[in-house]
């Protein structure tokens, strides 16, 4: 006789069973879980050093049972460089938001990628400074209203939103770069695949692995979670196309001369 019950879904052991501080509908929790799943499935949990950043993601060390160090705002890629050079045998990843990585930390991530540091970077792009209360971020969409651009972001005044996955893919030292989303089950599966790849290129010593997550911030977008998800699949995905921008295994020429594998 077959077992009556079979576990088909469980929390990875690396996750701490505790309420998260994230707002309802925020995608950080889902992305944390994907990180936990990939670390567990690749057998990396007890060799990992996590480099935290400043922003809503600062408490990642409360949710994942990992050795961790807290980096100053924007400096996670430099701290991770120091960690990895000091302990090349360890798995090292940073987890950073868009203000942290694409504004104040742009220099650090670009140079870490260009040096081909063997680290993985989880980049959570929710187009807004979440922790500080919804100010304009480097990824804020043109026209998007925030507390520091009440009339909407103006391209003339503030420039266009930065496309980090594409920018970093252009650097020799970046081994893998992708943009994913977790707004649907299909996207979630692709996101996990990409994240795993970004972890694997580090293990293989190929260079920096980068995954940009389009992530919902219903609180600062003044939307309910479903509307926020729809914004990702609609407006955001149109400007920030999902896909693999650099892959050591395969490279496909997409339209416009851009190397991109649509996901």
């Amino acid at each position: 006789m077959r077992n009556q019950e079979q576990a088909v879904f469980s929390v990875p052991e690396v996750m701490v069973d505790t309420p998260m501080h994230f707002c309802p509908g925020c995608h950080h929790g889902t992305i944390h879980r994907l990180v936990g799943e990939c670390l567990s499935e690749l057998g990396l949990v007890d060799s990992t050093i996590c480099v935290g950043s400043v922003g809503c993601s600062v408490f990642i060390y409360n949710y994942l049972r990992l050795d961790a160090v807290e980096a100053p705002h924007g400096r996670a890629a430099a701290v991770a460089t120091g960690v990895k050079r000091a302990r090349p045998e360890n798995f090292v990843f940073t987890y950073q938001g868009d203000g942290d990585l694409a504004a104040i930390g742009l220099s650090e991530i670009v140079y870490a990628a260009n040096r081909g540091e063997k680290v993985s970077v989880v980049f959570v792009n929710n187009t807004v400074y979440g922790m500080t209360g919804g100010q304009m971020a480097p990824t804020t969409m043109v026209g998007q209203k925030t507390t520091t651009c009440a009339g909407g972001r103006s391209q003339e005044r503030d420039g266009a939103p930065l496309k980090m996955a594409e920018m970093l893919a252009s650097l020799e030292g970046t081994s893998f770069s992708a943009r994913v989303a977790v707004d649907s089950i299909a996207h979630l599966k692709k996101a996990k695949k990409a994240l795993k790849k970004a972890f694997e290129v580090q293990i293989q010593g190929l260079g920096l692995g980068f995954v940009e997550f389009l992530s919902a911030c219903p609180t600062n977008w003044h939307m309910n979670p479903l509307e926020a998800n729809a914004r990702i699949s609609g407006e955001l995905s149109a400007y920030f196309p999902l896909g693999v921008y650099k892959d050591p295994g395969q490279a496909v020429e997409a339209s416009g001369g851009e190397t991109c594998i649509r996901m």
């Binding site: 007890d46 935290g52 049972r65 050795d67 460089t81 120091g82 050079r85 302990r87």
Partner: protein, 359 residues
Amino acid sequence: MRTDRILVKGNEAIAMGAMDAGCECYFAYPITPQSDIPEYLSTALVQAGGEFIQAESEIAAANMLLGAAACGKRAMTSSSSPGISLKQEAISYMAGSDLPAVIVNISRGGPGLGSIDPSQGDYYQATRGGGHGDYRTLVLAPSTCQEAYDLTVGAFDLAFTYRNPVVILGDAILGQMKEPIRTWRSRGRPEGEAEDWALSGARGRAPRLLKSLYLSEGALAEHHAHLVSKYEQMQAEARGEEVQTQDAELVVVAYGSIARIAKNTIRSLRTEGYRVGLFRPITLYPFPAPALADLASQGKRFVTIEHNTGQMVDDVRLAVRRFADSELLSVYPGRLPNPEDFEHPIRQLMQNEQQTEEA
């Protein structure tokens, strides 16, 4: 054990001291007058199997240092004044996260771009923490190339003893002058150093967290209590050199290169019969206040000589306040003092005192 004397620049002496202390990681960015240090270590450290990165900025270099420090490695960065300003963010985080690291400042003139000439303008910055928040770093002030080597070796031990950043504060005189030194290989990295707290992956043990964020009510206050008790323990490391202070009526207080120049002044004034001595703080934090207070209690008078507009004089006045005060003899950065420059002002100070006593 190597006992041969070699002729090196102060900067090279520091680089050699780092090597002999077992430095494993070094991160830097070029800036005059300290670039001999990255030039030396870019070869020597890599040949010895260590990690050298020429970072994209001082900020990145200091944060790489933070990362290596979190892994319990003996790690260092070096720069000069404007670059040290940029490193302050990471130094504050390292102080707040109890991380050991060595930061060398071969200082130059400021404010702003200032000059590439020697200056002691970074005394406040070095001894008051330098970055945001309420913290202290150990500060060592060598005055010879030999001492630059010796104190660099010792700086790594101090950093790990107290799990705290250590600043070596020199200037362009020390960094660029050549002197013979004797190197000695220290015990290097002791077995098991940092193994009880450093990050290495949570294999077979609870995860470790190195951080400076304390949000819950009272948590930061508790952290401050911990830091303060550490700073109290550090007071035992206070060191100073005394030259002919025993019978001195006037004690010159000066540190680093300027103390060396003042030492010549004192020798010369002694031949004229002036009873003048020198007190040279070797540690600027902790400041050797008890030794100065002891001299003050004997009725001696003080003059602080500095290559800035007057910074250490505050600490001298605090140290001697129960018994005495300190005059200030400032040489502004941008001028290089000679021993003779101090002679006349000191003679005047001592003659004025005699006249006061006679009156």
